[in-house]
């Protein structure tokens, strides 16, 4: 009798845990998907973070679609069909977003090239200016003056 009871409790616990496991799997997907989507009402928050009415509704929509067995991609597609690429925190690479994706790299390349050119010019300037006789004499005179002053003090 006791053994049977123990078995019963064990089964019930197992079932309960299994259910919790399932719940958290769906919840995790819900969080993952909604963290990828921008809330259109408060535009700097994700649908996962926002408490706006629309975000609550969209989370409900995502939860239902997960329960229906739709894939993450299908759910994201569902959102972009209605709200456009703007809802994606990681916009797709296409003609209208080329500047967005490549702009920073382009700026970096331009910056590096400019820096290289400037450094080269400066080096060339320094190497090409040897002292002529006149300048050398003046420099020596100045140094000698300096020497005298230091000896005076």
């Amino acid at each position: 009798m006791r053994a049977l009871l123990a078995l019963l409790v064990w089964c019930a616990a197992g079932a309960a845990f299994a259910q919790i496991g399932q719940q958290t799997e769906a919840d995790k997907r819900l969080v993952d998907i909604s963290a990828e989507l921008r809330c259109l009402v408060c535009q700097n928050q994700t649908i996962a973070e926002s408490n706006a009415d629309l975000a609550v509704d969209l989370r409900r929509q995502i939860r239902e679609q997960i329960a229906d067995g739709r894939s993450d991609r299908e759910i994201i597609q569902y959102m972009t069909d209605r709200y456009g690429d703007f809802v994606l925190y990681r916009p797709p690479f296409k003609a209208t977003t080329v500047l967005l994706w490549l702009g920073p790299a382009l700026l970096l390349i331009v910056g590096v090239l400019t820096l290289r050119r400037t450094l080269r010019q400066r080096r060339a300037l320094m190497a090409d200016a040897p002292l002529d006789e006149e300048a050398r004499r003046r420099a020596e005179a100045l140094l000698a003056d300096n020497e005298e002053e230091r000896n005076d003090t």
């Binding site: 069909d81 709200y83 456009g84």
Partner: protein, 174 residues
């Protein structure tokens, strides 16, 4: 001279982009639904909930779908224009009563006037989501074939009506 030309050019380019950015409204997100068929739906009519309305009933007509709610303060701004539009019988307007209590909605219409050919209740906002609604009010211009031709986000203004919506309606009605 050419030494200053490049930084000046960069400065002007950046300034032009930033200045253009100032005139953009980040709240106006272009809708991917423009140019596509209006989503199908079937919703209860606000004033007689046992009847339903579907956009198919408007086939062959140019019409407006106006998303509104009694809790929406900005809707009051545009409402007189809607009433005027209906009084002049320029274009039929269907109201999508978005996430509202039917009783509140009916009271609101009695108070401010009812410009709608018919209003339908979208209690849970599901049809709103299908239309990509994210802020009330919003207005869609739908053509004879049921294609969405324009989406106006926020309250309709006299300018928007005169310069964009009415000319578009006229062109589509031909």
């Amino acid at each position: 001279m050419s030494k200053y030309l490049l930084p000046l050019g960069v400065f002007i380019t950046v300034a032009v982009f930033l200045f253009y950015g100032l005139s953009l409204n980040p709240r106006e997100v272009p809708s991917p639904l423009v140019g596509k068929p209006a989503p199908a739906f079937q919703l209860p009519v606000l004033h007689s909930p046992d009847k339903t309305f579907t956009p198919k009933e408007m086939a062959g007509k140019v019409w407006l779908l106006n998303v509104w709610a009694s809790w929406c303060v900005a809707c009051r701004d545009e409402h007189p224009l809607m009433v005027e539009l209906s009084r002049r019988k320029i274009v039929p307007v269907v109201g999508l009563n978005y996430k509202d209590q039917p009783d509140d909605a009916k009271k609101w219409l009695r108070h401010f006037g009812d410009p709608y050919l018919t209003s339908v209740s979208d209690l849970e906002g599901r049809v709103g989501i299908d239309f990509g609604v994210y802020g009330v009010p919003e207005t869609f211009v739908i053509d004879k074939d049921g294609i969405i031709r324009h989406k106006h986000i926020g309250p309709i203004t006299e300018d928007a009506l005169k310069e964009k919506i009415l000319p578009l309606v006229e062109r589509l009605s031909r």
